[in-house]
Assembly symmetry: C2
Homo-oligomer: 254 residues x 2
DNA sequence: CGATAGCGTTTAGCATTGTCGAACGCGGCA
DNA sequence: TGCCGCGTTCGACAATGCTAAACGCTATCG
């Protein structure tokens, strides 16, 4: 007997397919991509459309994601306890560090950004809440992989794409970096994800001492590094913020 | 024969229930709220959890919305053509008007905010993308109700809640306001939604001359009004922006 | 300009599939 | 320690959603 409801799994696969294929997709594309009869795909899409999860372009008949997903996704942020507790502290971190602050949680094979404070200057920046980052090359991801066994397993299974010349993709080399992360209590990303961009992140724990997320700052390597290493005062600020949020979540500091 | 897939409708109802009930809900609450057997609700929730649409608190066993909704909701914004076209113009409007800019589309019984540019000062503001606003009291909503027949029908059906002493709830009085909106090409909200807050909005049309959204500014009544009326230069700026976006979408300007 | 190929949609019948009621194991509470 | 409530599992039935084939439509091309 199947352990999961078939039509729901198929509907979820459709939503993910529509999310991946940067543009609108036709019914036939969807049906063949998932190996379904056109009528089956149509029935699911009709229901999803009625519920607001997908929309159909009246002209071309093609399908795309629907507005209800945005509404529910925003509601997820409102309910998220970690995010609510972190809101108070991340603004201060952005101000004191002068850099952009990110808050991430494990989701599937990567880090989902649930909060993002802009770097406090007047430059134009785009909000990255809802975006995904890889586990193996980012500071947020390495912290999660070092402290959350589930995240670690995801990192081992995932294919580790090289983004720059400095990206570490060999598993044993990554393990050493994770050991270092566990030993010193924070992780760095020294141009391993984007050229010229470095980051620091530290883990956030809940009342059961389990890692539930990570918080960190990201910025141009010229500003956040000195002599090829992250500036110690920035590392300290990030770790302080992570500890403050953990304390708010009920983690005992011993 | 049923026109829609039962399990999908039930799953969608669960997600909406979880989105509404500000906190985590237990299985029994969900099952009884929807009139389902506990085992049925459990099967659906288990699948939704496996797909990332709901999460379960390990301690209490209660359910809440899942992270996948945030990821998909953000993707919806990326695909949204109206939003992409408007991005270029809304920044300019915020700068020239000095006020916060909102972009909304009709969704269910209200206006869904799909873009929000902060007022260009250094005050702390919260992003309202993904939030819903009522049709009957807001400038964005009245524009949609005046130009989109579907939105108008939703406004008529919805229960029109009074938010301030100035909120108009009588249907014939609203109809006169909508007639005025159609005649002058924009709508206002003069402390009808929040005390001390006023707004202007104008419609955005696509290449088939159908209203697909509305754009407007919102701010303290002392700044955006003079002699109890919206300042004409702000009205002109909003209407210019709406026309620019409409032109980008392919609407012919005759 | 008519034939064609592809699209999204609808239809009918079958068997797979999701649903239900009842029982289970496990906590907190008195 | 007994109880009540929770989330979860089990097994059988029939309602449910799936499949395959045919439909109307638009756009394309010989």
């Amino acid at each position: 007997m199947a352990k999961h409801i078939q039509s729901l799994e198929r509907a979820a696969a459709m939503l993910r397919l529509l999310a991946g294929g940067e543009r609108r997709l036709g019914l036939s594309d969807i049906a063949s991509s998932l190996g379904l009869a056109k009528a089956t795909a149509h029935g699911i899409l009709r229901t999803l459309q009625h519920e607001g999860f997908v929309e159909q372009d009246p002209g071309s008949g093609r399908y795309q994601l629907g507005a209800e997903l945005l509404r529910l996704g925003t509601t997820y942020l409102d309910v998220h306890e970690l995010r609510a507790r972190a809101l108070v502290w991340t603004d201060d971190l952005a101000r004191s560090s002068g850099e952009a602050v990110y808050l991430g949680v494990l989701h599937q094979h990567g880090v989902l950004i649930v909060h993002h404070v802009f770097r406090p200057d007047d430059s134009r920046q785009v909000l990255e809440v809802g975006a995904m980052q890889p586990l193996h090359s980012t500071a947020l991801g390495k912290v999660l992989a070092a402290t959350d066994p589930v995240a670690h397993a995801e990192l081992v299974d995932a294919k580790r794409e090289p983004f720059t010349a400095r990206t570490v993709t060999e598993l044993d080399e990554i393990e050493r970096a994770l050991d270092l992360t566990r030993a010193q209590g924070y992780a760095t990303d020294n141009e391993e994800t984007f050229e010229g961009v470095a980051a620091v992140a530290a883990p956030i724990y809940d009342r059961r001492r389990l890692a539930v997320g990570s918080v960190g700052i990201t910025g141009a390597v010229e500003r956040v590094c000195r002599d090829g290493e992250l500036r110690p005062e920035l590392v300290a600020a990030v770790r302080d913020t992570a500890r403050s949020v953990s304390r708010d979540l009920g983690a005992k500091p011993f």
